[in-house]
Symmetry: C2
Subunit: 155 residues, 2 copies
Amino acid sequence: MTDIAQRNGVFHFEDLHVGQRFSSGTHALDEAQIKSFARQFDPQPFHVDDDQARDTLFGGLAASGWHTAAITMRLMVGGVPLAGGIIGAGGEINWPKPTRPGDVLHVESEIVEITPSRSRPDRGMVTVRSETLNQRGETVQVLTAKLIVPRRAEA
Amino acid sequence: MTDIAQRNGVFHFEDLHVGQRFSSGTHALDEAQIKSFARQFDPQPFHVDDDQARDTLFGGLAASGWHTAAITMRLMVGGVPLAGGIIGAGGEINWPKPTRPGDVLHVESEIVEITPSRSRPDRGMVTVRSETLNQRGETVQVLTAKLIVPRRAEA
């Protein structure tokens, strides 16, 4: 099955198995990106102002968690080649450590559950646990997402 | 307690109670915003290309779920005035319906759980359930987030 998937470049539902792993490329995050995202979506002192950030719980400038999530998505789009794309119904997200300027992020994903759809024989639900790590190997985000993955069309 | 909070403009941990509700302002989403966010963070056909989107599960252009999450954060920053800001440790997120070009979003938040910290007497954990709704009252996102909220400093 892996051979077929690799030949097509994408994985259908029936090509996937629990324990299967995917590694992403990297994304280098800098202060300008952190502030730009935060000004648009999360304009709080600890995400936009170095001086004010020092006196907060973060103790210095940190990326918005939603910025880390968005970068993770970008890395997964490049690193988890699912047929039909990466379509999430939802999931659980945690940020055990802040993401900082200068961090180089990558994502390690593992399939933890596979559930055929009862009502829709053309697809299934695949639960993927994705850890986003920085250049020191510290986990800055854990996302356990439920993805909708199509089956291969019948011949 | 609400009086004190309102006078200061922000709510500390001890000002909050289960069932307390907050309403946000609105955000009007258009096609340009959807494509701009998606090109940067979630470059998949159903988020960046109208024609290709029609033949996907979404049946037309839809915002990235992370875009909906980021807009929700922006609305919460303006609508949930917590002392110390909105600092999330993590949470659960679901997207029951797609967010579309032309949608006008707002967020309704409700406190569902309050947990004092055992190890840190200066703060506590507050669980907030936030529904993001479109102009037709349809829920496009449900986020149940665990927030860290400081107590008022001792006099």
